[in-house]
Each structure stands twice: as structure tokens, then as C-alpha cells.
Assembly symmetry: C2
Homo-oligomer: 269 residues x 2
């Protein structure tokens, strides 16, 4: 079945039209855990993600961490503290290896505003999308149970936030990983994965490499809660594997049902 799209906090390709304006910025690589902006920083540049995964993370004085939004390739981050001209309220940090372009305030308020107002309209459009994501999140957090929220997040991962790697490639990678681990092509081996996938009984999806801990931080839950919920979905035959490389959906219709959605599209609330 074709799974319905589900909006969520990982943003991809929202600002692709900015590709033509990146010449006015400075490109840099960032390593795992490298910080773009600290909480409290003044932010005088927008960043455009070329490769990788950046998160906006809130940290309480007690040390509880929460991922507020994730930025994947083709998306601009830092918009809130940049345009609000107030200290950043979240930390912006690279998850893995990231390549990003910094675009300064003078450039945005000068050349971009005067010569490319359509790019400001694009920012407004991507902002509107982010508002939608936040609005849903607030409603879901208030009104929905944990399993429903997790199922929505999984649908979001596999339909909106997936890496642009063909499922065939994900299959091969997953198979290679299993092969490397087990040394043979056993019950979890590639032939079996492919067979199940190609039979339509299950499907593998690549995703931006999230651990259970990352999922927990996006949903504001404990890691153990997420692992337990995933275990429940596995035992119920809804999901198969869920690791940093792939998510295996065994019963898409049931996943959609448990997400409180219809199969034919994204519904609100």
C-alpha cells in the first residue's frame, strides 16, 4: 500500500529555491556534535543545509533534552532567532557530518530582499509549513496517546523525512549489515528481507539515521518508553526492524490505523 504522508518535525527540501542565492554565503563542514548556535547566542546568519542533519534542541536547567525540529538537506535553519533578533532559545547542533552555507544579515536584508523577494516568499511558505508542524505537535501532545504519536512519527520518517536513497539501496545496505553481523544469510539475511519486501508483505525504508534515543528526544519521551512501544508494534506484526539504517513496515494498513489516520492522505487532527 502507499502510505499517507504525515507531517512531522524533520524538514527536508523546504527552501530549495535558495540554491541560486548560496553564492552570497560561506560554505563549511561540521562534525558530529558540532554546535552552530548555543542557547542565548545572537544569530546573525541563516544556514542552508547541503548535506546532513541538524537539530534545534531545547535543554532545561535540569538537563532534559528535547529535539524541537530537525533540518535535512535543502532546508534553512536559524530563522527564529535570526528574524526575532533575540537570543536563541534552542541549541543548533550537527547530528553526524553536515555541510551548510551561512548567509549573513546584510546579505538577506540587502541583496536578497531587493533582488529576490520571491525567496522571502519561499521563507514565508516554509515557515507556514513549520507552523503547521508545530500546531499538530501541540494538538497531538495534548490529545493523543503515546503509541499514536509514535506511529505518526514513524509514518513521518518513512514518507517525508526519508533520505533520497532508493528502497533497493536501503535493502542492500541492510542486508550487507546483517550479513556482516551474522556472517551468513540466515533468517534475517538479505534474501529473506528482499523476499518479504518484494512480496508486498513488508517494506523497508531508509531514514536519517535516528536511534531510539533520537526518536525519544523528538517526541519528548524516555528512551525506554520508545523501545517498549516499538517492541509492542513488533510483537503485533506492525513493524519489523527499526535501527539506524532502516525501518521495516510489515503491516502498513495497521500502522496507518494506529496513527489515527486514513490511508488516503494526511488528515487533521
Amino acid at each position: 500500500m502507499r502510505l499517507p504522508r504525515c507531517h512531522g518535525p524533520l524538514l527536508r527540501g523546504l527552501n530549495l529555491p535558495w540554491a541560486k542565492a548560496l553564492g552570497g554565503g560561506v560554505t563549511r563542514e561540521y562534525g558530529t556534535g558540532e554546535i552552530f548556535h548555543q542557547m542565548g547566542d545572537r544569530v546573525d546568519a541563516l544556514h542552508y543545509v547541503l548535506e546532513g542533519h541538524v537539530v534545534a534542541k531545547a535543554v532545561t536547567p535540569e538537563g532534559v533534552e528535547r529535539y524541537v525540529l530537525g533540518f535535512l538537506p535543502g532546508t534553512i535553519f536559524g530563522q527564529s532567532p535570526f528574524f526575532n533578533r533575540a537570543p536563541a532559545e534552542t541549541l543548533f547542533v550537527s547530528v553526524g557530518h553536515t555541510v551548510a552555507v551561512a548567509l549573513g544579515r546584510d546579505y538577506i536584508y540587502g541583496e536578497v530582499a531587493q533582488r529576490h523577494p520571491s525567496l522571502l516568499l519561499n521563507l514565508l511558505e516554509s515557515d507556514a509549513y513549520r507552523h503547521r508542524v508545530f500546531g499538530r505537535h501541540i494538538a497531538d501532545a495534548t490529545l493523543r496517546d503515546l503509541e499514536t504519536r509514535l506511529c505518526r512519527f514513524i509514518l513521518h520518517l518513512v514518507t517525508e523525512a526519508s533520505d533520497p536513497v532508493p528502497v533497493e539501496q536501503a535493502l542492500t545496505d541492510a542486508a550487507a549489515e546483517v550479513h556482516a553481523r551474522t556472517g551468513d544469510e540466515g533468517a534475517e539475511g538479505p534474501a529473506d528481507c528482499s523476499a518479504r519486501c518484494h512480496s508486498g508483505a513488508s517494506a523497508l525504508f531508509s531514514h536519517p539515521g535516528l536511534t531510539h534515543e533520537d526518536v525519544a528526544r523528538y517526541l519528548g519521551l524516555h528512551r525506554v518508553t520508545v523501545s517498549n512501544l516499538l517492541g509492542g508494534l513488533r510483537r503485533a506484526g506492525v513493524l519489523g526492524q527499526f535501527n539506524r539504517k532502516v525501518i521495516e513496515v510489515c503491516d502498513g494498513a495497521e500502522l496507518v490505523a494506529r496513527a489515527g489516520m486514513s490511508g488516503d492522505g494526511d488528515r487533521w487532527p
Copy 2:
């Protein structure tokens, strides 16, 4: 004491620079409960509030209502469905009498974008503020207890969302209301209110006329919960009156402390 500002969901004056572009729109009056956009509507105009109070309201299939944002004079609403070009996910409805100007898509994407790119920057700036409000809301809803959230909302009402009516005026209005109700100037009468306020022991603030039910809808709580929490704050000597006209703050320092904030400014989280 001077109370610290506290960001919240009622937005005022964020888009004042648009005053110069309102000639390109259509001005209309709206009565109590009149709907601007239904959930599911396509929205092809931005609205600028000249007078009144408009809320963006989410309603679940079960009929639970939630106020997502409130729009007070000088603020534009409808931005999310307008720029997202997707069906509205909230209902936009007038609370009381409202005057608003509708600005169409052709006008925004044409004349405004070409001749007033600074107004697009203003929309991005006000959007950034709204993101900040949403981000706080998500963190608060996850991490804060109900009394803390209510105290933050009250600080928001009295420091950010107040009507631009001088406190003196609010005092006189409140006194007149009490006078009209009781027929005399008793314990709750104007002389007493003024004396307490002017002594610095308490202060009265006007606000956009919210009922306990409205407060509950903004916070995602039951009306009874809000009334009980307000009762607790009253018994503890933190608040005095809380009605549709005024909020009386008897112990500002304690209100700030219970909101988990410092007295010298808005702190995150």
C-alpha cells in the same frame, strides 16, 4: 514591582508596519462568533486586525476545542494556511466585535512583494516571534506543571496582551462594574481597589476580556481546573480579582516565582 514580560499565544501589534499597505485590502466588521475561515478552507487572503480579538481554534472530531493563537490589533492572521496553500487546520473566529482588513494573494505576491519587501521581512519577523511562542508552549506543556503554566499565562496577559487602556482606566471601569453590581462602594468597591493599587500592595491590569473558559482553551485544560488553580492563587494571596475586565495581582514577586521566572526579564525555559 515591574513584572517581567512573558511571551504567550495572544499576539498584539506584531505587524504595525503593514498599516501603510492596508489601502490594497477590504475592511469589514465581524460580530461575536463570526467565522473568517473554517477548518479545511483554502485561504487566499491575509487579515490584519484593526480592532477586537480573533482566535485560531482547533477542534477535534470529539469536539474538544483548543485555542492555538489569539490575534489582537496590529497583527496579521491566516499566514499559515495562506502561505502553506493547504486547507486551514484551525478555525479562525471573532471573539466579540472585530474589524479586520483582508489582503488578497495577488496583492501580496504582486505589489507588496515588489514594492514593499520590508513588509515581507516584517512577516518573517512576526513569524519568528510566533515560532518562539510555539516552542515555549511545547516545552512548557511537556516540562511544566499546571500552576506554573497558568502563572506564565497570567504574566503574559498582564505584560504583553493587555489592552492599551491605562491601568487608571481599568481601575475606574472595574470600580464602576462593582458599583453597578453591589450598589455601594463596599469591600470590593473602587476606593478600596484604588487604595490597594496605589499603595503598591496590588495592581489591576486590563486584558482582552477572557473568561476562565477562554483561559482553559488557550492552555488545553478543563475550565474547572483553571478555576481551581485561580482559587488556589487567590487563597495564597497571589491574585485578587480575575474577571473579564481586570486581573488583580496582589503579590507580583510570588506570581513571578510561581511562573518559574526571574523578576528581571523573560527567561527560557
